[in-house]
């Protein structure tokens, strides 16, 4: 019996390592999930003089997409956001993270603008409060103002079909 211990330990180790191979260490689960979204107030792009206040979104299901013109991965997810915006089911807010207004507007002019409003976070302070550590990141916020999902890295079709869409359906169906 005792002779089997090393084998059992070895198999357990192999098991853990095998599981580890399937995980992406870049995806750190956000502590914000199912917590109230951090409140913020930011000027919009192009500057309109009225700030965007996250509190104004209370009662709505919405998406906050963190992006920047310097972010290469943002280019790959952009068409998916444009498609989603075309359906007009929920507001998509673009948090322009550590960018300059000129570069951001030129980028959107070239690739299309999926955002209802573009929020100017050039200092990155709002990003910091939302725990952004790699752009792009996408948050889904429910009617009560809670963060329900965070996607780290560029959105892809699989994530949209399997996670984002079903979640949005569920949240939109919920009474406000």
């Amino acid at each position: 019996m005792v002779k089997l211990i090393p084998l059992v330990l070895f198999l357990a180790l192999v098991g853990f390592l095998a599981k580890g191979l399937t995980l992406d260490p870049r995806e750190v689960p956000s502590p914000l999930i199912d917590k109230p979204a951090p409140e913020f107030r930011l000027p919009t792009l192009p500057a309109t003089g009225t700030d965007f206040k996250s509190a104004d979104m209370q009662g709505q299901v919405w998406i906050l997409n963190v992006w920047a013109s310097w972010c290469r991965a943002c280019v790959t997810e952009h068409p998916l956001l444009v498609d989603m915006a075309a359906e007009q089911r929920l507001p998509i807010m673009g948090l322009n993270y550590k960018d300059t207004p000129e570069a951001a507007m030129a980028w959107l002019g070239q690739l299309g603008n999926p955002y209802n409003r573009i929020l100017d976070d050039r200092e990155g302070r709002v990003g910091l409060d939302w725990g952004v550590y790699g752009v792009p990141e996408t948050f889904v916020i429910d009617r009560s103002g809670q963060v329900r999902y965070k996607h780290i890295g560029p959105l892809n079709e699989t994530a949209i079909e399997n996670i984002v869409e079903p979640l949005i359906e569920e949240l939109l169906a919920a009474p406000s």
Binding site: V2, P31, D129, G131
Partner: protein, 155 residues
């Protein structure tokens, strides 16, 4: 002699590398503190937080933009007189326990903290058992061989 030389060069290389990394953020304006205690806390804390952007570096070593921002936030909080626990919870609220290189002792980390000791205990028990069985085996063989020797010697 050769090993000694190699050791020396490793030490020198490490010193150069770490020296290089601290020079990296000395470029960010010289930080001021109200007292040496605050400075010591700052230097300790940035060693103990992980940079989420480049996950195997701490905030002190990371050249990532985000690490710079977080160092700035930590510095600001220390000068405001915030405690270590308050700064811990500021970071954990945003990035989770993963940001701490020294994770807290709680239900989800019991395995992490206690696991190695459990493994050590299992290994010790196993080693002791093996050792005992080995001794018995030697004793038995010893007795058998002694009898055989006596028989051969005709005694």
């Amino acid at each position: 002699m050769n090993t000694l030389l190699r050791l020396c060069s490793i030490v020198v290389a490490t010193a150069l590398l770490t020296g290089g990394s601290s020079r990296l953020h000395s470029a960010e304006s010289v930080l001021s503190f109200q007292n040496p205690k605050q400075e010591a806390l700052y230097n300790q804390l940035i060693q103990e937080y992980r940079c989420l952007k480049c996950q195997n570096q701490n905030l002190a070593d990371s050249a990532a933009d985000l690490a710079g921002d977080l160092r700035r936030e930590i510095h600001m909080r220390i000068v405001e007189g915030k405690s270590r626990d308050e700064i811990d919870s500021y970071l954990v609220a945003r990035y989770g326990d993963f940001v701490l290189y020294r994770p807290p002792f709680k239900a989800t980390t019991y395995l992490l903290w206690i696991g190695p000791f459990v493994l050590l205990a299992v290994a010790l028990v196993y080693a002791v058992r093996l050792g005992r069985r080995g001794k018995h085996a030697v004793a038995e063989a010893g007795a058998g061989q002694l009898d055989e020797a006596r028989r051969l010697l005709g005694k």
